[in-house]
Subunit: 357 residues, 4 copies
């Protein structure tokens, strides 16, 4: 932590800051510039980081307080240099494997669920998705089939052999969703629902945490930290677009987050081009781009008849479109893997043994 | 709802759109332009609005689909022209009354809670705030005293006679929080936690709904619609800053939301300048500005000794600062009321009987 | 400047950073933490600030580089504690005077210009605005009357005695605009048009610099620094809304910028509620809020018959509306001045003698 | 254009709207809903689009005015279905050719310019970039070599045979820049500098228009419309990141803009991953992603010794890194071309003959 004193701060003000630091067993280290004093803080700042920022920044004579240590620990690559790999029914997520999650936005009935499951399994999906509890902007919209949907998803999993993922919306649903599904999804609107994060952290099943549409990467990793620090190391991050001033697309897909996250964290990163773009014909190009940027996989919505979908039809793929996209993704993924083995591949400032990129 | 067909859409494509509309008992009305057809939809679109947008927008030949009706109903001023007024222990929120909610960010103990309650009551606060369950970005930060905090808040209410407000974070906490507090607060990170919205909608106590820091005004009103449609008409909206590219302040306080909301909805609107700015010395000017813009009140954080606060100290006011600000607010509020009685006051396109502004 | 080395940076890497600093006659000062080294840079960093950030941040072993000194100098309050006051034909801008700039968006003809000038002068405007060169999003829209417009503005100034302000769009226009107008306006789209900033910096007339709708406060002050460092100390800053995800209003008016700028700079700050909101009925409440937040004035659009305006009619006030608003502003301004004389008024961390707030 | 009347609008108010439309030789077409009237406007709205929106939206009884026709014409794919292809010294930009623009951020001297030109030419660059006039946020930073730089760029072009691109910052520079360079670049801060857009529109050389970091896609296309309507059909669009709340990267690269622009316009689209990310090690993954999303090319910064660059060193590639990236790009580009020939490729709602995607 670095504390910059104001030009004109008195010696007493600087002394008060030093005293405050010593109360927390930290050691102040002064740096005298031509115009002002800058105090570096030595010692274990992490446990009192936010509190100290808050306290110090209002002390008289203090101009600014800048933490150096990142606030997330268990999710940081510094603490865990190897990629996290999650295994489910023989499928691996992370570390260079290509994950393709596909299925309907909402599970609307038995027939459509099974038909979709068979189609995506055949075309190369590795994980089956389907919404049973649906967070909807409007209280008047279809809210999902609930537990009936979970059972249909489990049946589709049994028939196809694919592991499943479905959203959980509140702590009291965690138990039943964890019973019937292989991965628990926390949606964009619940990224900072800390009660839910803590609950899924104790559920004993992998969790996919979607980025809040208004959340920074740091806040996203802090939300993941809630899950991991509750005992669950198996977290998948899913970029799904952030909110910006651009209105042509529903959200702005932040693909740079992919290589950035590979630098900051060991957790797998997948991309959802369906929700970010909101338009079916933008799904394939953005899925290809995601994998070219190094994503560990994608999540897309597929429907037997998108025109008749009860939700998100405008961004759902038909079976043929999904098969076409998946075939392309597999080829791009293979090529990108090969290209990144090149000795001149650019990497971030991470030490040799610590990262794949 | 307006459906714009592409230049070059075929007659069959246009016919298919008409057929789709008729399946929902809606009447298509064609408008032939020089280059394209525009179909206006007559009938009760509201119940199938989102579904129709989704379906129609991917039909061949369709260029765009634009809903006309706003998606919120119970919260709209069109449906309820008079201001909603909420009465609590003799205090009124809404319709020109000045509401001042004040108290500590977190309740840290009995003494500081009571001392703060007495000070803010004396200075003119009308509602007492205090955090018992705290949503914190970091899992390692102080999470509040929980139920013990609720009891201290209730004790402070009894002593001062002020009604209270405190945050509730998950459905299972609603009952106990409603038992001990007069207003339930839903925080910015939970604005689209639909399980929680539905739960507070059934709790029988007024709810203050903070704006999600990444949420549009329309989404905010839709979140309020969840609460009102669950049976609870007593909702207060609280603007607390949105996320933008500007980083000098924690968030960007959107004060234009105040007159805009008075135009769109009948619900009271208060402003929280503490969280939006994140800096104590910005609280007073932004509180004055909020009331000048027509806000029904403000919510601020006050602490006996902000330098020692366990959370949000950098934005908490001292007792003296709070008293100074409150005195100024009362004067500005009285002047603004008088000024807006002027016959030339500008108003939005709302019919005469419907609004105070 | 603070350089944080990576965990695991080698001694050689740290030595290289020190050598780089010494090449610029700067003194590195090491701070050894438990996990890493943090180097504080002593000496006059300012002239090579950006270059050094660029160079150091890609050196092996460097985790981050954080400048401490703000990049603007002449415009900072630290360098110039007293408020800048600009005098024009007896009117003062800055330091607690209330400035009201008003007039038509575009000058459309002699009659409407003179009629508007008389009306706003009578109602209390202190500066007359009128657009002669108009930056329009569409090449097909009305682009202003050009020099003919300038002459009409000058005529209106002569009749009413009000000083004038009008926009200049390119360096080659500066001379003629400076000849016929008292203040040169640089528009939001040209805030970082450095050729224009340098040209108006040499024009010998005060300049009003609108905030770029996508610009941070720091970039805005750097743009002002271009003007001041070109020899022109008379710059007025005008907040006019920034671009965010919210679409109900044209832009989001960032009123917190007002007290923040008073803290960071000595330049006067005015607010344009017409462009930020884009809606006539939002102008008055946001003008009142601006003055309550401490703005030195406002700029609004007024038209004899807004329904027939050739540009911006939807946000232009009628004469009656302007008179009503101005009367209210004067009262709020007087009250706010009085309120802020209070000894408990909150201020930012600026030394005693340096600021009015 | 669609005009939605308020619930409760009077027959006279609706009649006034109809009259206003007829004054512009437009035909109103009423649609009577259950609660309100919606007026569709038939006729050639385009020439008076913005004016009409402005006028109608403030008429009593009008709830909203929505234009249907897009405001850009010459740049729209509807008006020009085939891809624009720009030929320069044997290189083609657009329509499936891969363009790689590379060179130093600033031209710092003869040796470094020639050395870089040779290296990028050898590695596969198709166009040579180099900055002579540099827009810098700080007035105290290196502003480029000016005309001396232009001459060095021209010399490097002669030696390598590569066409060149360089930035022009004001109308008075256009002639000299057009004399010495093959493509004129308009930078992000000048995207809405209309005087400059008009000037480059008359220069007789192709123009690359960077997206304003705060500009919507529609505004960007309107800026291109300025150039094309001034007589210059050869415009290349360059996505370079937009400003969002995320601060880990300098800007947020909006790659979805690539397929979206291919849908909306016939102009070539290239991507600049250097400025968007601001970090060297993010350039390669984002360049690959851009091409996978369908970009017509990329622009990157290359320097013989990035650690010693006078500007943008932290995002410049070394020669080896550029060669590695270019080799990868060529392979991904070839694969993506093949993949998109697939009959199931997803496309937007553009008619068969009109687009490549």
């Amino acid at each position: 932590m670095i504390i910059v004193m104001s030009i004109g701060a008195t010696e007493q003000e600087t002394a008060n800051v030093r005293d405050q630091l010593r109360q927390y067993n930290l050691t102040p280290h002064d740096n005298y510039g031509t115009q002002r004093v800058v105090i570096a803080v030595l010692g274990d700042v992490a446990p009192v980081r936010d509190l100290l920022v808050s306290k110090l920044s209002i002390m008289p004579g203090v101009e600014s307080v800048t933490p150096i240590t990142r606030p997330y620990k268990l999710t940081s690559r510094e603490s865990h240099p190897e990629d996290t790999v999650i295994e489910l029914l023989g499928t691996k997520v992370g570390n260079g494997n290509l994950t393709i999650m596909a299925g309907p936005c909402s599970i609307e009935g038995r027939e459509m669920m099974l038909e979709t499951a068979r189609a995506v399994a055949k075309a190369g999906a590795t994980i089956l998705r389907g919404g049973a509890f649906k967070p909807r902007t409007s209280p008047y919209a279809f809210q999902g089939l609930g537990i009936e949907g979970l059972l249909l998803l489990a049946e589709a999993s049994k028939e196809t052999g694919l592991p499943t993922i479905t959203e959980v919306m509140e702590p009291s649903q965690v138990e039943v969703v964890a019973k019937h599904s292989d991965i628990l999804q926390v949606g964009t609107r619940n990224m900072q629902n800390y009660s839910l994060l803590t609950a899924v952290g104790k559920a004993g099943k992998p969790v996919m945490l979607k980025r809040g549409y208004g959340a920074t990467i740091e806040e996203w990793l802090m939300a993941a930290e809630y899950i991991v620090s509750s005992g669950n190391p198996h977290v998948i991050l899913c970029e799904r677009g952030i909110r910006t001033f651009e209105t042509y697309t529903r959200n702005t897909l932040d693909l740079t987050a992919v290589p950035l996250l590979h630098h900051l964290t060991h957790l797998p990163v997948v991309v959802d081009p369906s929700h970010a773009t909101g338009k079916r014909w933008l799904v394939k190009p953005m899925a290809l781009a995601a994998v070219a940027a190094g994503a560990d996989g994608i999540m897309v919505e597929v429907h037997p008849n998108p025109d008749q979908a009860r939700s998100d039809g405008e961004q759902s793929l038909t079976f043929d479109q999904f098969a076409d996209m998946t075939s392309a993704l597999v080829q791009i993924h293979e090529m990108v893997r090969t290209l990144n083995k090149d000795p001149f591949a650019m990497t971030g400032p991470i030490k040799a043994g610590s990262a794949k990129h």
